[in-house]
């Protein structure tokens, strides 16, 4: 029963998020849009903060699955990183309403922690890719790249459209970070 309610709510979350801004979130409004009784919501999640934590975990799980699916079979290298980054940005854009909620919910420590853990995971994976490419200080480069990728996602979310100049700047950073003459000499 609980799992049915979770599935029903998660599959409707994108639609709910386009209709209810974060500041107006309430159990009654979510249940009204999702078409479920408030008692079911309370039994499954208890309250809105717990629901948002679950929404975040679902969002992160789906974005990871998307990236894995899109990059599956791709040759390691810069193109695979760009492919993964593009799919991350695409998923964020397709679920902009949900991401609006999650950005607003960062004041909740556990939501903030979930976001930090996701960034750490992405940084670890990307650091390994950049190390394999022979980049200087790959872990540092990966950490900065993930911060920049999130800035592109946030900027595109605010403007609700792709921002090619920002993406070009991101690809330029990816193509060149850890390759400058001083860094090669230091290495």
């Amino acid at each position: 029963m609980k799992n049915d309610i979770r599935s029903k709510l998660f599959s409707a979350t994108s639609v709910i998020a386009t209709q209810i801004p974060h500041d107006d979130l309430s159990i009654s409004r979510v249940c009204e849009v999702a078409g479920i009784p408030a008692s079911d919501f309370k039994t499954t999640f208890g309250d809105i903060p717990t629901y948002l934590e679950a929404v975040q975990q679902d969002f992160l799980q789906n974005v990871r699955a998307r990236i894995i699916n899109v990059t599956n079979g791709a040759t390691p290298g810069l193109l695979r990183i760009k492919l993964g980054s593009e799919s991350y940005l695409a998923y964020c854009a397709e679920n902009a309403g949900v991401r609006d909620w999650l950005v607003a919910a960062r004041a909740q420590p556990r939501v903030l922690r979930g976001l930090q853990q996701q960034n750490q995971s992405f940084t670890l994976v990307l650091g390994a890719e950049l190390r394999a490419l022979g980049r200087y200080q790959p872990d540092a480069a990966a950490r900065l790249y993930i911060a920049m990728l999130n800035e592109v996602a946030s900027s595109e979310q605010r403007s609700r459209r792709r921002l090619p100049d920002l993406r070009d700047a991101l690809w330029h950073f990816l193509d060149h970070v850890g390759t400058s003459l001083q860094q090669r000499n230091a290495a």
Binding site: A141, R143, A147, L166, T179
Partner: protein, 180 residues
């Protein structure tokens, strides 16, 4: 000087002293005691305690901005000036735990969040100008991304409790790459 202005200055100085000494966990009662004023004075002068803290945060940010401006004032435009400004900004943030703590406390407060956005935007414009000066292609786009990277470095250094040269070098050396 009017009494109200004197009281405002007294509160502001006491708040700065307290935040510098004890961090951002300061309370209105602490401040009133430190300023030897009745607690209700804060509300009368500032409206509420958070507004006073926001004003203080703005002052601390402006001090960092002025420090960078003075450091780079007589340098010719170029990569060296850009890199010095970024490194000095990171160092200034690292050496001001009270500023970081106050920003962290106020980042979800509407007025605090707006103030932080304004200061970040100001820094972003400064970076844009420097990148334009060195002929960077799409300086506005890189300025936005570099600002995000600088915030990330600042957070990482605060968490680590010491500067992280690898992160700083990685960003600063990237500015040496060809942008065309």
């Amino acid at each position: 000087m009017h009494d109200a202005e004197q009281i405002r200055r007294k509160l502001s100085r006491a708040a700065r002293r307290l935040v510098d000494q004890t961090g951002a966990a300061v309370t209105a009662a602490d401040l009133a005691a430190a300023a030897t004023l009745p607690p209700a004075t804060i509300g009368q002068v500032y409206g509420d305690f958070e507004t006073l803290l926001c004003e203080l945060l703005g002052q601390m940010h402006d001090e960092v901005r002025d420090l960078i401006a003075n450091l780079t004032l007589n340098m010719p435009a170029g990569r060296s000036r850009l890199k010095l400004a970024v490194d000095a900004y990171l160092q200034a943030l690292f050496e001001r735990p009270a500023l970081r703590a106050l920003a962290s406390r106020l980042r979800f407060h509407p007025q605090g969040a707006q103030l932080i956005r304004q200061r970040v935007h100001g820094f972003n414009l400064l970076l844009q100008m420097e990148l334009k000066n060195i002929g960077w292609r799409q300086p506005d786009a890189l300025a936005r991304l570099a600002t995000a990277a600088i915030i990330e470095i600042g957070l990482a250094e605060a968490e680590a409790g010491h500067p992280l040269p690898e992160l700083r070098e990685t960003l600063l050396n990237y500015f040496d790459t060809e942008s065309r």
